[in-house]
């Protein structure tokens, strides 16, 4: 099969069950269909236990599906594992997955051999990646002395060591400080400009909005929707929450009447206004400022909150 013309990832009716002793099997993925084009940065957005990691593990051949098919760069993940492995890089989140007593350089050199690179080519690539990830100065120190963010950058370097066409990043920004997270976003943009496909799982809607060409929402093993980042941005502003302190009673009454306000709750001095329509947060802020309230903040909704709204509004047949 010609792999350059095929989608980078093509998943059809993919299911994965985990058997449990004395209990019915748990369905981690349920009839998932997904297609990701070559060169696309695709976000997989979902809460813990949604099935994101299970999908990543199947795509990188570490886990076998129960049913359905998954092709990566045109190769079946069950029958053409070697071809799949040669064409992908995988980064699992968290601190595990590195040889912590060895240095960053030793880790990467070993992984370059595992990706079947000739020694000279591999060593050169290791040095490039150490520099690219900002780890060059500490390349010979044991990884166990690294901060969490540094380990995460080393994970990324490991994912790129085989010069993959498709990179699967499972929660790559877990544990990164804000500066490292910004650098990571820059890196993903570079990867896109190099023509690589990136599948990125995350909890962070803002991150998905900033980085991805398209975003798929997954929950309880089912793919709920695939949307553009523009839609994600709309959700973020639509369900924004405004918090204010020392709000006079008459202003609270006005807030309840603002179009697009879903609810107003008060706890002590703090009033929280939930919005359910795009632009409503702006109107709420105006009412507050006009009412002389100066201690005000806006909070973006969590992924779970957006889920509740989106699923609730659409009445999606998830069951």
């Amino acid at each position: 099969m010609n792999t350059t013309d095929s989608p980078a990832v093509e998943v059809r009716r993919l299911a994965r069950e985990y058997s449990r002793r004395g209990k019915p099997p748990r369905r981690a993925l349920d009839d998932v269909d997904l297609a990701i084009g070559q060169g696309e940065v695709h976000g997989l957005l979902g809460p813990n236990g949604a099935g994101k990691t299970t999908l990543c593990k199947i795509l990188c051949t570490v886990l076998l599906p129960t049913s359905g098919t998954a092709l990566v760069n045109g190769f079946d993940v069950v029958t053409k594992t070697d071809a799949v492995r040669r064409s992908i890089g995988i980064v699992f989140g968290g601190e595990r997955g590195l040889y912590t007593r060895l240095s960053a350089r030793q880790n990467l050199r070993y992984w370059s051999a595992l990706y079947r690179q000739p020694k000279a080519v591999g060593y050169r690539r290791v040095e490039e990646l150490l520099d690219r990830m900002g780890l060059g100065d500490r390349a010979d120190e044991p990884v166990e002395t690294f901060s969490r963010g540094m380990k995460q950058r080393l994970h990324l370097a490991r994912g790129l060591i085989g010069d993959p066409r498709t990179l699967i990043l499972d929660e790559p920004t877990v544990g990164m400080d804000p500066v490292a997270a910004r650098d990571f976003r820059e890196l993903v943009r570079e990867l896109r400009s190099e023509g690589r496909t990136v599948l990125l799982t995350t909890h962070d809607m803002a991150e998905a909005e900033a980085l991805c060409d398209r975003v798929s929402l997954i929950d309880s093993g089912r793919l709920l929707a695939t949307e553009s980042p523009r839609t994600i941005g709309q959700w973020l502003s639509k369900y924004e929450r405004v918090r204010a302190e020392r709000v006079p009673a008459e202003v609270v009454s006005h807030l309840r009447a603002v179009p697009g306000v879903g609810g107003v709750t008060a706890a002590g001095d703090v009033v929280t206004v939930e919005t359910v329509a795009e632009g409503a947060a702006g109107a709420v802020l105006k009412v507050l400022v006009d009412g002389g309230v100066t201690t005000v903040s806006t909070v973006r909704p969590s992924l779970e909150e957006v889920y509740l709204h989106v699923i609730g509004e659409r009445g999606l047949a998830v069951g």
Partner: protein
């Protein structure tokens, strides 16, 4: 493939340097050697001195194989690296064999160490009248040891209590392998069991290499060691493949 093999050997050497506790048996070998030598010399059996030195060394080789190789896959799994290894295009069996090979070769330092202890503390030297055959026996033993270790590294992935297995597999093999007490001195009903363990052939042949008279049937005995090694390799590789497929199937590649 050769490049991958040597990369894995280099990696294992670096790991051993950073984690010297894996070679703990090389630290305990002086105690074993001293104990065995003290027993045979105080019993007035100086003729058994080579047995004592060889026995301590072979026990070290086996203990290292059990400790390091038995944990090879398990430690990858525990550290979260097994997922990455399985997602890489390198044949897993080559990595395992390369790494076990290095550990086995390093564990053979126990032979030199044991001999050195005998010389330094007891003033005895062990003559080697058949050095060529001794070297050949060690090579064949290394081959069989790597094969046997590959079985253990695969098997221990399935065992929830790998360490209990490791501990309980040491002394039975010291005995059945005839490492200190020759198999010929074991009860008759036990001897057939011993003969399917390559260590029993190794121990007898190595002891014969330290005698002046030429060892009888050296080539067939070497062939048995190699043959048992080949069987162990086949079993180890088959088991590795089956077990890796099984953990991919049941989703237990990682612990996370």
């Amino acid at each position: 493939m050769t490049g991958l093999f040597w990369a894995a050997v280099r990696f294992q050497a670096q790991s051993l340097r950073r984690s010297p506790e894996y070679l703990m048996s090389l630290v305990t070998i002086p105690a074993l050697t001293i104990a065995f030598l003290a027993i045979v010399r105080n019993s007035g059996r100086d003729d058994l001195v080579p047995y004592a030195v060889l026995g301590a060394a072979l026990m070290t080789v086996w203990a290292t194989a059990l400790y390091v190789c038995g944990e090879l896959i398990e430690s990858e799994r525990y550290g979260g690296t097994l997922e990455g290894l399985l997602a890489a295009p390198a044949p897993f069996s080559v990595l395992i064999i390369a790494r076990i090979s290095l550990v086995t070769v390093v564990s053979f330092l126990g032979l030199a160490e044991s001999g050195l202890i005998a010389w330094l503390l007891f003033g005895v030297t062990i003559p080697v009248p058949h050095p060529g055959l001794l070297l050949l026996t060690l090579l064949c033993t290394a081959f069989a040891m790597v094969g046997t270790s590959s079985i253990m590294s695969a098997l221990f992935v399935l065992a929830r209590s790998a360490r209990i297995f490791q501990n309980s597999l040491s002394y039975p093999f010291y005995l059945l392998g005839g490492l200190v007490v020759p198999v010929a001195l074991l009860p008759g009903w036990l001897q057939p069991v011993s003969r399917v363990i390559f260590l029993s052939w190794t121990a007898d042949l190595l002891r014969d290499c330290l005698r002046v008279e030429s060892p009888a049937d050296a080539v067939p005995r070497l062939a048995v060691i190699v043959g048992l090694g080949v069987l162990a390799f086949a079993a180890g590789l088959t088991m590795s493949r089956a077990i890796l497929r099984r953990i991919r199937q049941n989703g237990s590649v990682g612990y996370a």
